[in-house]
Amino acid sequence: MDIAWTALLLSLKVAGLATLINLVLGIGLGFWMARRRFWGREILDTILTLPMVMPPTVLGYYLLVLLGKKSWLGAWLYQHFGINLIFTWQAATIAAAIVALPLVIKPARAAFEGVDSQLEQVARTMGLSETAVFFRITLPLAWRGILAGVLLGFARALGEFGATLMVAGSIPGKTQTLSIAIYEAVQAGDDALANTMVLMASIVCIVILLAAGKLAPGRVAHLAPK
């Protein structure tokens, strides 16, 4: 069971950090695609969805190609900073973030597009900078839709194992996330351990999602039956 706890903590660290990254990237890219009209916008949107279409293991393989010491990026990192990402929890985080990113961008974009631009305009007439308008009007009004995506992304990051296994390996206490531990338990025929860990993951996920759900405002009532 010690394995399970260690793996759970690692999973939370990895998924949490990946979600944080995706929160920033997803909101940024989602907003950008909602507001800027540029050539190839829809194509870019679609390409950003592609990580979903690939089997995670295959994605992991490409990541390995990208981050490994034999790639120019990996080589550069290694030469200048002595960093080798393969077999580190940082690599697991990158994998989880990439896999979950589409889940955050698409709903975020849809949410931003749903914000009434007149409200932003009025805020502008009051002398607010674009950044202030974003944080005081756009983001709060789009928040419900964004949060839905972020929570999905968190769940996905927590469950990710195909790509993670490839780039981070499965080193107990170092890169063995809960998902990988569950997978290995199933592979090793240890159903009891696997079930326990699945239950653990589920409970943790439920608790976190429920808590995070409280961050969304309720439905605006308008004329809802009183």
């Binding site: 990996g74 296994l165 290995e184």
Partner: protein, 228 residues
């Protein structure tokens, strides 16, 4: 120091035990075990993963590593043997004793590792070819991506028979029974090697040698492997 050991998934249980004994004997060393399919391990190594010791489930993968100049050829050696078995669900009534028995109509599905990527599937294919039954049962074969998936199908009674290693069958003796030991021309041996890029080759060699020690071999036997 720290030692990164990449080992095939089928070695998972045995290597975890062995690592403990090893660290008990050499307290100065911290073993980091990384398990995955042999093919995945190779890919990681090719792309520059910091691996000191590589242990695969088949010779082909290790050959590929050797060809790409990733391992010290001198330090490559086999450390344990496995055998191919044909298994049936525990309470199966169909009688299967030889490969030819797979041709009977009652046998509708046979689980086998995908020969393209899973060593155990390649061995099974060789055996079926040698017994000249392959063409007549080809339509019954269910390809799996690893040996565990084949074991699982048999254990769940979804297929009438399956090819696995003796060490895998040993994990589930309450759900599957061994119908036949399958003899093949090749011996199924597991090779281990020290990698070229290892910056801890002395300890890596020591661990590779430890696999042949009586302590390690006893553990392997416990999990259904055979000595060389």
């Amino acid at each position: 120091g720290e030692l990164n050991v990449s080992a095939a998934s089928s070695l998972t249980n045995a290597f975890k035990d062995i690592a403990q004994s090893y660290q008990h004997q050499y307290p100065g060393t911290k073993l980091q075990l990384n398990f995955a399919a042999s093919g995945a391990l190779l890919q990681q190594l090719v792309k520059g993963a910091p691996v000191d010791v590589l242990a695969t489930a088949d010779q082909d993968t290790m050959d590929a590593a050797e060809k790409q100049d990733l391992i010290l050829i001198k330090e490559r050696k086999d450390f344990v043997r496995n055998s191919l078995v044909l298994i049936q669900p525990m309470n199966a009534t169909i009688k299967i004793a030889r490969l030819e028995d797979l041709q009977q109509g009652a046998v509708k599905r046979i689980a086998i590792g995908n020969p393209a990527s899973v060593p155990v599937g390649r061995y099974a294919q060789l055996a079926l070819q040698a017994a000249r039954v392959l063409p007549s049962i080809e339509g019954k074969l269910i390809n799996t991506v690893n040996v565990r998936q084949a074991l699982d199908y048999v254990a769940r009674d979804e297929v009438e028979a399956g090819f696995v290693y003796a060490s895998d069958a040993a994990l589930m003796l309450d759900k599957v029974k061994v119908a036949a030991q399958i003899k093949i021309d090749k011996t199924i041996t597991y090779p281990v090697a020290v990698t070229k890029d290892s910056n801890n080759q002395i300890e890596a060699k020591r661990f590779a040698q430890f696999l042949a020690s009586p302590t390690a071999q006893a553990i392997f036997r416990k999990y259904g492997f055979k000595p060389l």
